[in-house]
């Protein structure tokens, strides 16, 4: 217990370390209260028109499909179409109809839209009588906000991993690791101590982040708590593993960089691309943050069953990492 207190005291003295743990909380509250990031515009259509070129009713017709920006000169319109970060479709009048301008580097979706737009304009009066049956669907775009919060949570979790790895590497470099070997301390005590700080701080910072961002029912809150504890534990284990496996700062940094990229990229990729192949999604679960991310997203929409599945996956992760670490400590020979 004394040694645990020492470890914690060590962290409290380290202002920078404290700041890192507080950071996800600050970002989460900023995301929650400011909400300035509006991602709902991502998949939508954007049109650019020239001032005084199209009749008002054509502009109104365009506004039914997406946002319309009016540009005063032709050069500005062309620049806006060519701008690589947007998928703006330029619309010009062409006799009684319209014609469209694109830069040619858009995704197929926007190119096809631009190709078919004049056709839609010609047939604009034909539609209207058709019966339309719209099915209820959870709003996909609202998920982006949750995605950011989920990523922030994963980062909070990852801090524990980094901290543990760096802690062990710096001990190795300072020679404390040798002293530890002759101290009257069992392996499990050593692991407990090393695990403790990163795990507790990662957990605390994630829990506070969740409290700020989500309003959950009691049952879901319990599930979320289990999810956080397990993922912080898995992250802390991975941190220990990195710390043990790397024999120098540089190697440790490389490992951490790769793990960080995987932790953040895999869930975002699978969320944005929407992997439906069972084998591929199973492979994605090898990265623990995938399960965490899925669980958080499921809980944010109130889906408990998926979260329970993810909890089991994370549990498996914790056990596997524990066994791997143990195997590493006591080789079979």
């Amino acid at each position: 217990m004394t040694s645990l207190r020492c470890q914690l005291k060590n962290v409290l003295h380290d202002k920078f370390c404290l700041m890192t743990f507080l950071l996800p909380i600050v970002v989460a509250s900023a995301l929650n209260f400011v909400g300035s990031i509006d991602l709902s515009t991502l998949g939508e259509l954007h049109f650019g028109v020239l001032e005084d070129d199209l009749p008002t009713r054509t502009t109104t017709w365009l506004e039914r499909y997406g946002s319309v920006t009016i540009y005063p000169t032709m050069e500005e319109l062309m620049d806006a179409i060519q701008e690589p970060s947007t998928n703006l479709i330029g619309v010009e009048s062409d006799g009684s109809g319209i014609k469209t301008i694109i830069s040619g580097d858009e995704l197929d979706m926007f190119r096809q839209t631009a190709d078919t737009l004049p056709n839609l304009y010609e047939q604009r009066n034909a539609a209207g009588q058709t019966k339309v049956h719209i099915l209820e669907c959870p709003n996909v775009m609202a998920g982006f906000h949750d995605m950011f919060i989920a990523v922030t949570l994963i980062v909070a979790m990852f801090m524990g991993c980094t901290f543990n790895a760096m802690n062990m590497i710096s001990e190795k470099e300072d020679g404390v690791a040798f002293i530890n070997e002759i101290l009257p301390m069992t392996q499990s005590q050593y692991i407990m101590q090393k695990l403790f700080v990163g795990f507790i701080c990662g957990c605390l910072s994630s829990i506070i982040t969740v409290c700020i961002c989500f309003r959950l029912s009691l049952q879901n809150a319990a599930l979320m708590l289990v999810l956080i504890v397990l993922s912080a534990l898995a992250a802390a284990w991975i941190g220990l593993f990195i710390g043990r496996a790397s024999n120098g700062l540089m190697a440790g940094v490389v490992y951490i960089k790769i793990v960080m990229l995987l932790f953040i990229a895999v869930p975002i990729l699978s969320f944005l691309v929407g992997i439906s192949q069972p084998l591929l999604s199973a492979i994605f679960y090898v990265v623990p943050s995938q399960a965490t991310f899925e669980g958080i997203m499921a809980l944010s929409t109130g889906n408990g069953t998926i979260a329970v599945k993810d909890i089991f996956i994370l549990l498996a992760h914790c056990i596997i990492w524990l066994l791997l670490y143990w195997e590493n400590l006591h080789p079979a020979s």
């Binding site: 939508e44 979706m109 056709n119 058709t130 719209i134 700062l249 540089m250």
Partner: protein
Amino acid sequence: MWKNLCSLFKKDCRMMVSGKFFLMSSGFLVLYTLYVNFGYIKFMDAQLYNVYLYDPAKTQTTVSTLVQRVSSKEALDTILLDDTNGVGIDASAGEPQLVFYEGTEQTDCHRIDYALSLLQPPGNCNAEVIGSNTPEQKARKEITCELLFFEIAAAGFLGIAAVLFKEKGMGVIRVHAILPLRKNLFILSKLAIFLLSDLVFAILLTVLNVGLLDTASILPEVLIQTALLSLIMSLAGLICALLLKDFRQFTSAYLLIAIFVATPVFLSANTAVKLDWIYFHPFYHIYMGLKNAYFGTPMNSPAYYLGCLTAIAVLFAGVQHVFCKEMRKEG
């Protein structure tokens, strides 16, 4: 002075080789190249909504080839459940009925009109193309630019710190305090080696991922931007490494930069999301400079270059100051 700089440079080179820095860089070069050529390009093929038609009595005569026919009402429902962006047309009752999952209001409007237009005789209009990049070229340039920015911001910053902490531990700074050398040389040789390695990295990454032909025209501008970024990041890394106590604290600072500084920049520069405050973000301008270089858009004003040079000068003065302080402390 040149002789001294050369010998310092050689020593730094040896430090970097023994620290596996070049090995790490080439490892990441391979990783990025594989990702771009076998991963990223494949993901980027978003198609317009699929339209599915259930028409047992063949009432629709002029159906576009873009429409996929399904054999039963159940098949239509299952396929829509899988592809929630798709639009189903149910023409079993004679008059076509549309079925789809709710999206945003404007998207729904467009999906209705688009699906119905596919049942009409097709028009033969194509959009006018004014740009010179194909979607693949654009994707390649965009991802290469992102990876280069990330790698230089990370490698310059982290690499210099890793080397410096090692030297600090070995007492090199203490030795420098008593050597009859100009103190600037220590900083200059560090900057030179990172600048060179970053430039080589930029050339290789661009050639391998954008393609040799496209690279030739954009390379000079890309190298200028890379040099600016590399100098700023190395100087910032030097300051942090001199000020911070140990590498652990440094990694925290690094994580802060990598995640919370780079994310809004990438978001704002690569998507249609525009954040109002992003213009006050210094890295946004540097990133846009690099991106404009990749796309060949001459948009950099003299104010931008002036700002970069001022930043480099200020950082250099800062490094010098901190370095002298450190030497006084050590010696």
